[in-house]
Amino acid sequence: MDTATPGPLETSIREKLVQLVQPASITISNDSWQHRHHAPMRAQGGGNGETHFSVQIVSDAFKGKTTMQRHRMVFSALSEELSQGLHSLSLKTKTTDEVEGSES
């Protein structure tokens, strides 16, 4: 699937997360096409192509926080998107130290 041009939802996710945590790096991939057969997606006619995303964020704003606290931060920032069609977010949230410590 073509993911070259980010859709409006992806753009808005990126803007909000950049503002939230000032990331050293942020990678967003749109995985919606993998899930378009889902019962809830089928109910929406296959979804609008912007329902499922994977987000990898490296930011020192996550320092001293548990994974759950980090995910909650992200979810809170995107609560608007989540209530308007964003269905799933797969998150990887690391600090710069954690990335340097374990390259995988």
Partner: protein, 151 residues
């Protein structure tokens, strides 16, 4: 006439929560609490362990299965079969996505957190600590051969 003070303060608390778009009734809240207490491990998922209807729910089922969580210590709830539960559990946990895992009444997280804990070994420690599985001896691994599956 007395004012419904309790009720309004309750609403205030709920509206401060990030995902509380609707008010969870006390009835729905206690039903969810009862579900969470129904077993040491409780999984709110899409579909059933035999027939998961979402890859993330499937992954969580597989990880729990891999650790040998016995069926009698695990209860799963199919949120697709219960619309009220589906929206209620998100608000209850203040977590916007399914699956959700609870261990002994405590919210553990969703798929990413569970997979992360599995990879780091924390999940096994936690399940042992909560006496859901017993400490496992490496039985099937021949000496000198450590099977590592990392990606």
């Amino acid at each position: 006439m007395f004012r419904p003070a309790l009720r309004s303060s309750y609403a205030l608390i709920r509206s401060a929560a990030p995902f509380a778009h609707r008010h969870l009734t006390n009835e729905a809240r206690s039903a969810i609490q009862k579900a969470i207490n129904s077993s040491p491990v409780v999984l709110f998922m899409k579909g059933t362990p035999q027939l998961p209807e979402c890859g993330f729910s499937r992954a969580v089922v597989q990880v729990l299965d891999l650790h040998g969580v016995p069926p009698e210590k695990m209860q799963t709830y199919n949120v697709l079969a219960d619309q009220e539960l589906r929206s209620g559990i998100k608000e209850f946990s203040e977590w916007p996505t399914i699956p959700q895992v609870y261990v002994n009444g405590e919210f553990l997280g969703g798929c990413d957190i569970l997979l992360g804990m599995h990879q780091s070994g924390e999940l096994e420690d936690l399940l042992v600590k909560h006496k859901i599985i017993s400490e496992e001896l490496p039985t099937e691994t021949p000496q000198g051969q450590t099977k590592v599956s990392e990606s």
